[in-house]
Amino acid sequence: MDQRELVERAGNGDHDAFALLVDVSVARLEAVARLILRDQELARDAVQDAYIRAWRDLPGLRDPERFDAWLHRLTVNACLDAVRRRKRRPIEVDLSPVMPATISDQTGNIADRDQLERGFRRLHAEQRAVLVLHYYVGMSASAVAESLDIPVGTAQSRLNRALTELRAAIAADERQPAEPRAVTA
């Protein structure tokens, strides 16, 4: 059974079909949420919220071909909601890295990794979202636009702006080598 048929069946209330859709997408979405939120617990809540909303609103999805983009939009929106909620109350900050570096690390030396980590954390969640969708999920600018429900031009400018700010954050970091590690996302 192809994805289009699964989406149609799930939209008609077939929960087993929905379970198959979850199985093939949950690992990717959980990773996307972890990258945007930089917090495993928040990511877990956001992914759960996204799937609950997906199940509830699937009957309203008119074009099954758009399911992947729609699911990414729900996930990104759930992440942004989580960030907004977190700003309104104190949280316990998780100081551990989201995922430890592996020996297959191909990104260069430790300083480069840390600079990227710190720079990435300094970006707004919306900026992290466009970078994750483009550079991690591999979406084109038009696919990012569809996922975020924004015009293509806006998506492109957000990507450029996020890269510029990331570059500026790394440059600032290079000027302050003794700066302590950021502890909030």
Partner: protein, 408 residues
Amino acid sequence: MNRPEKLERDLTAWLADSATPRVPDFTDDILWVTARTRQRPRWSFAQRWLPMSAVALIRRTSKPIPWRTLGLIAVLALLIVAAVSFYVGSQPRLPPAFGLAATGLVAYASSGDIYTVDPTTGAREAIVSGRDDDREPRWSLDGTRVAFLRSSGLGEALVVFDVQRREVVTTTDPLLEVDADSIAWSPDGRSIAVGASAGGLRVLFIVDANSGALTPLAVDYLELDVYWRPPVGHQLMFFGGTGPNVGLFMVDVDDGVVTEIARPAGPGGWIRPSGWTPDGRRAVFMRDDGSGRFRTHIVDVTTGAEVVIDDVAYGHVSNDGTRMVALDVDGRLCVANLGGGPCVQIGQPSQAYEGTHAAGAHWSPDDEWILIRDLFNGGAMRIDSDGQNADQPSWIADGAESIQRVAP
């Protein structure tokens, strides 16, 4: 290779290394919840009614504005408004969730079944009967549904029953050690708060009144009745806390923010919620300072302005928010003005209600009379709010636990 290209390449590699996709351990939780969540009906999505070109416009693409499509949307909008107007006009009027309303049917449980009785005509009807053991009916604030507890081998489930359709809307999973005092309908009728035990702790659950899904609130709930704050109704007043930091708190069920309302008067003291005024500005609660002396406090939660009525406890606020019925220091019924002043005794010395039960007393929705669970004689009793008449009419003989609000 120039600098921007290197940054993009490094970013791609770093993102891939930072979050390798892995199947999370909460997939089953997602499927458990979604299996118990009802999907929205297809007709309720606006985009299902619009042409694809209009949907594309709504997606805020940068295409030129298609005026013909906009015109079509306007026509559709007018048709929808007309249809909604016709639908609303044909629906029975519902009462407001707070404030004065007219009095409808009285619900009660007897021998494991749920009954309603009309206090005007005395007409009685079993609305839920059978082999199940049901108790503690509670009308929704719009008077269309009744929630009640149903025994099961594992505990008690909360059942939502649509009185007009004569059908069960939903039944929750079994709950342990349910506190019937804590059953409280939200003003919008979508949720019901209920306290129960889970994992050795008391937990305040929010029940989805349509799907039966249970959501535990992340608060240190201890016990007693809870009250939704008017008029919006997404905040709950509850008794909770840990260790020495117990007191009355207010939690926003949408974002989880908890606000302290009041603490006990001192060591050995006690505090208990009594409700809200219908404008949602003032919280009403009782305190025992530890020496056995009671006071009722009416506190503006925004300004902190406070009215204290001495020697009065276990109050119930009238629907218009001007008075409360309570028990005085002699255990007698009295009615006090929430603006302050004495609590004027009503009824006879032998008449009082079970103060520790949230359903011990009810104002009729029009505030004309008060229903009490008679502490001394058992059963229930009706007493005029001015205290001139107290009686036990025939319709009340079998029980009376919750009064339906209907449109004036």
